[in-house]
């Protein structure tokens, strides 16, 4: 699947690079609405670890999602500096504004055509279903998240806390 996607999007792409646990990830710039400093969040009871809270972003109530949880990373240290990415996504078929925590937001990166390569089967420790591909950028590697699979609530909304033991698809 990743191969097909990579080829279909052969044109030049703008992505926003951010870091989680020292790794560099990226998402398409077109989905990013703004980047904010952390806001006070309201915990949602029984919501599960992936979308644990809601917050007020300029008068709209926005769910906070924790990508670390989905990628199987440890929760961020509570005193670590964080940035908030506000994304406009389509979730469960409806346009939804979502806020996502990142350790740091770096910069907008221009990826030339063909720069995104499929994920090597063994080269990555995160669930492959959530990764669209990898791209080389300035002697480093940029991991492109697959926003079609990494954001939907379905995987855990159905059976609460569990359901993300590993990559099912």
């Amino acid at each position: 699947m990743s191969e097909a996607v990579a080829e279909a999007r052969a044109a030049e792409r703008l992505v926003l690079a951010f870091s989680l646990e020292g790794e560099r990830f990226a998402l398409d710039v077109s989905n990013v609405s703004e980047v904010l400093d952390p806001l006070p969040a309201t915990a949602v009871p029984n919501a599960g670890a992936f979308a644990p809270a809601v917050l007020n972003v300029r008068g709209a109530v926005v769910p906070l999602v924790d990508i670390r949880q989905r990628l199987g990373m440890a929760p961020a240290a509570s005193d670590a500096p964080q940035r908030l990415l506000v994304l406009d996504l389509t979730v469960a078929g409806e346009p939804t504004r979502v806020a996502m925590m990142a350790d740091d937001v770096e910069s907008i990166v221009e990826l030339p055509a063909g720069a995104v390569e499929p994920v090597p089967a063994l080269g990555i420790r995160w669930p492959a279903a959530f990764i669209e591909g990898v791209a080389r950028h300035r002697d480093d590697i940029l991991i492109l998240l697959d926003q079609e699979t990494v954001f939907p609530p379905a995987a855990q909304a159905v059976d609460g806390e569990r359901g993300l033991g590993g990559p099912h698809q």
Partner: protein, 438 residues
């Protein structure tokens, strides 16, 4: 005023109803069939006051409501800021704006209100058809048709009411011979009644038929594996069983061979509107099913409470009273959770436990908010009552929509997000959990 005249005549004189129905039913049908047309609301209000009316597209009313919601939130923020600054002239202005926003809200909500007689109108014909098909002589009585409900509530109301009326005629009312044998009049009566109580509208369908047979319902529920044979259920719990999906009242209660219409459809709609259903029935005397629905869906009066560091809103319409949780109860183990309030034992749930929040380590006396769900009182233990607020209900995102017990969220004056709780869903979930354990 024509709508009320139409229904007043048959109500006062059932015999005249038959002659009166055909001309009355026809003009009544079109507005009831197209309740989505917001113009109907304007017309009805206009008629009531004898003034002119304006037809408006429904979505404009929705837009108006959305904008009003934003205004209410902004006004709450203003009040907060004014309170913090303590400037007298700012306070005065903020108070004036609050007063204006409140009256603007009331006016806007009233524009969206439709008299329930528009929904009752179509039942005259439905009842006539039903009586003919089932060979039963049934008169329709309507009460409180002038009661008004919000357009959205109105739109969702038609379908469940049809289920309920059908159910009453098909299963509730016995054949004429049985009625006479039981010392009743040969002609049965189905009553549609509406009235307003606080922030809720109560709509009931009642019949003077044979009533629900708790033993038969119980036997059927046991047979279907819905409850345990030894389960201790009181009458109201047994009555609630008829709303379970696929529970056919046709076979269980009455053995009438009708196409039993699932009352679970009624329950689903009522749940969606955050309402509750109450059933009262006496064997041999009749059954009354009452829907308690919120008057409006967009803005509610809410009680702001604190649960383990989070602010939550309980709809004021379901709150009966607040009491202090006696310290002796608070320290007790989990063996029982009952409070004695004026000679009545009220079960309670600890919201921080229900929500999986850690217990707050403070010396504060905790409080219990008593809510009424399906006619029964239940206490919800919270940490603090923060006050009463006008609350705009914002829907939850797909991430949180399926969580039981949450009706939505809102933004408080200080910008924080507060969750709006659904006491009925919380109590029901707790009951189900208990049944699974038992």
């Amino acid at each position: 005023a024509t709508a009320t005249a139409e229904e007043a005549a048959p109500a006062s004189d059932p015999a005249a109803a038959a002659a009166d129905t055909s001309p009355a039913a026809k003009p009544a049908a079109p507005p009831a069939a197209a309740p989505a047309e917001a113009g109907a609301g304007g017309e009805a209000a206009g008629q009531a006051q004898g003034g002119a009316s304006v037809r408006v597209q429904a979505h404009r009313l929705d837009d108006l409501m959305d904008q009003l919601g934003e205004l209410v939130i902004a006004q709450a923020r203003l009040r907060r800021v004014a309170g913090d600054l303590g400037d007298i002239s700012l306070d005065t202005a903020a108070e004036e704006i609050e007063r204006l926003v409140t009256s603007l809200r009331d006016t806007t909500l009233s524009i969206r209100m439709l008299p329930i007689s528009l929904a009752f109108g179509r039942f005259r014909r439905l009842l006539r058809d039903l009586s003919r098909d089932l060979g039963k002589d049934v008169a329709l009585r309507t009460l409180g048709g002038e009661t008004e409900v919000d357009k959205n509530v109105f739109d969702s109301l038609g379908e469940p009411l049809i289920h309920m009326v059908r159910n009453a005629v098909d299963h509730g009312i016995e054949p004429a011979a049985d009625r006479i044998a039981a010392g009743k009049t040969a002609q049965a009566t189905v009553t549609l009644a509406a009235r307003q109580a606080g922030g809720e509208v109560l709509i009931s369908v009642s019949d003077d038929g044979r009533g629900l047979d708790p033993a038969a319902i119980r036997a059927r529920a046991v047979e279907r594996g819905m409850i345990d044979a030894e389960a201790a259920l009181d009458e109201s719990e047994i009555h609630q069983l008829i709303f379970a999906p696929g529970f056919s009242t046709a076979v269980t209660v009455t053995s009438v061979s009708g196409r039993g219409v699932g009352m679970d459809a009624v329950r689903r709609m009522v749940d969606e509107l955050r309402g509750t259903i109450e059933v009262r029935s006496e064997l041999g005397q009749g059954t009354e099913v009452t829907l308690r629905l919120p008057l409006t869906l967009a803005i509610i009066e809410g009680l702001l409470v604190r649960v383990a560091g989070s602010c939550c809103v309980l709809p004021l319409s379901s709150v009966e009273e607040c009491v202090e949780l006696p310290a002796s109860e608070d320290e007790r183990g989990a063996g029982r959770a009952l409070l004695r309030i004026r000679d009545e034992l009220v079960p309670y749930l600890e919201l921080d436990e229900v929500f999986g929040f850690g217990r707050e380590a403070t010396a504060n006396r905790r409080r219990v908010v008593i809510v009424r769900v399906e006619g029964r009182r239940t206490g919800l233990v919270i940490d603090e009552v923060l006050g009463q607020h006008q609350t705009v209900i914002k829907p939850l995102s797909p991430y949180h929509r399926k969580i039981e017990g949450l009706a939505g969220c809102t933004i408080l004056g200080d910008g924080a997000v507060a969750l709006i709780l659904d006491p009925a869903a919380i109590v029901k979930a707790a009951q189900q959990a208990r049944r699974l354990v038992a």
